[in-house]
Assembly symmetry: C2
Homo-oligomer: 309 residues x 2
């Protein structure tokens, strides 16, 4: 598994259409969605980029909500072939509007099972035809929400339809291009301590890191916060690419990271002189020193050199 | 592609042996190595963990050096099946010690080609037998170094034996578990501006992020710095898991990240009251404000709530 950082230029890749994109990426979703569950509620965030040709990068909302005010709220994030996820959402909405399915699920677990049933239904309809032409059935969904009488919760529903629940020890779930945006979540999200405001900020930073390292993830960004027992969607914002707040938080984060690196202990080299008969122990050739500590006299310090090419 | 953050518990996974591990991970290397190329030289870093059973996590040096003092220096980082990479290194060393192969390559490009030939030779010897039992031939190598008369350079050699060179725009190359450690490199490494000391620090941070998010990457960490025209290995350090400097930089980075997040603009929610007839525009329900800005009176602010579960 090699990642060469030329991928930033991948926006120039020629993909014939959205299905072809799915084949070329071996089913890897060009999407990033994250759900964060804390004792105060949920933060859900998703990108909106779909690739359907290098001259046809489209926008598709990957966040879908199902609300019975005062009774139940479900927020669904989707990754995978847009054709398949659209079908699943369409079927879920049709049932919901008729008072069935998600409208009747007695718990969030049952809601996850209702969603899994629709995943399997669409899989039954489309999977054989897709696989015959080497496409994968690659739908993954994150479900956050609350049914009256329960606490909020967070699930992932896999392409096979089976659900997995987030836990206090693992209070967030991601789908799509998950790795770039994960280190910041690993460090920042604590079920019992992180406020919804902090979780929303971490979600934006996680998306920012992902967008920076993978061009197939991009704005607009949908960000939603749900507080315990609200049973209503009251805080939802779409950040366009040109949104000054989105640009600001990305730039400020870049600056803050560089400053943070600068304040860490510095690396100091003590090169052995090649001719030196008694070699320094290796451990002493690379040291950590606090910033601002002056260098001892007499050490061989590397000099910045002009480029020699 | 779903990443569930339960993977931190993956050290408990039962793998029969190292080959079986390769099959279970579908050829994904349980390794992280990075080479950074700047105008001042090279920084190379690698982890040392190999999984050969959950009760048999072994240490293998993934950094190999070939030096003719004053003439040529090659640093090779390896990922993939230890059986295959060992064979390749053994064959390269044997030739080198006899004054052939890497000892004679007239340029770093030719050295990358010499390595590619050995990759193909081991592939010819072992690939069919491996694939018959569903193992992948998954050797990836990073080559950094310098041949007198040239500038230093950095290559990747793929499992097929073909080389790819780092460029000033893409001055680092990674192999193995590359994604967790990439965002920090994307932000910090600039060919013309980053010093070797800074590059060494970024390499440690990149490894720290990777080790935190993937238990199959782990210490000891080998870190090497090579300055332009040194033609000798003078700065090399192995950080054990218990190394106070390694622990310190990990802890300090965690603290610094949290502080950096805290100094970013804060998220502020303005919840719409569910009964409110005229809805706020969605964009105004989630705002960014500078830290320390007081909240306007009369806004509905979310309260921290006790856990309701």
């Amino acid at each position: 598994m090699v990642s060469v950082n030329h991928i930033r230029g991948a926006s120039g890749t020629i993909l014939r259409n959205a299905q072809e994109a799915g084949r070329l990426t071996d089913g890897r979703a060009m999407t990033y969605c994250v759900g964060i569950w804390t004792r105060d509620g949920l933060v859900m965030a998703s990108d909106s980029r779909t690739n359907a040709g290098h001259d046809q990068v489209n926008i598709a909302r990957k966040m879908h909500t199902f609300v019975q005010p005062g009774e139940r709220v479900f927020i669904l994030l989707s990754s995978g072939s847009l054709s398949c996820t659209q079908s699943i959402i369409t079927l879920l909405k049709r049932d919901f509007d008729q008072g069935k399915g998600l409208a009747q699920a007695p718990s969030l677990y049952d809601a996850a099972r209702v969603i899994g049933e629709q995943v399997r239904r669409v899989s039954d309809m489309d999977r054989d035809a897709l696989e015959r032409d080497d496409f994968k059935f690659n739908v993954n969904l994150v479900l956050g929400g609350q049914v009256r009488g329960e606490s909020p919760g967070l699930f992932i529903v896999y392409p096979q339809g089976n659900p997995l629940q987030a836990s206090e020890d693992s209070p967030y779930l991601q789908i799509g291009e998950t790795k770039y945006g994960r280190p910041i979540l690993d460090r920042g999200i604590r079920f019992h301590r992180t406020t919804l405001e902090e979780a929303a900020k971490y979600a934006l930073l996680s998306l920012d890191s992902t967008m920076r390292s993978n061009v197939t993830v991009g704005p607009p960004i949908d960000l939603l916060a749900y507080g315990v027992d609200e049973f209503e969607i009251t805080r939802l914002r779409r950040f366009a690419a040109s949104d000054p707040d989105l640009i600001k938080i990305g730039m400020r984060w870049e600056q803050a990271l560089r400053q943070a690196v600068g304040r860490l202990p510095q690396i100091r080299f003590r090169a052995r002189r090649p001719a030196e008969p008694s070699q320094l122990p290796a451990a002493e050739t690379i040291e950590l020193v606090e910033p601002g500590v002056s260098e001892p006299a007499g050490e061989l310090q590397p000099q910045a050199k002009p480029p020699s090419s």
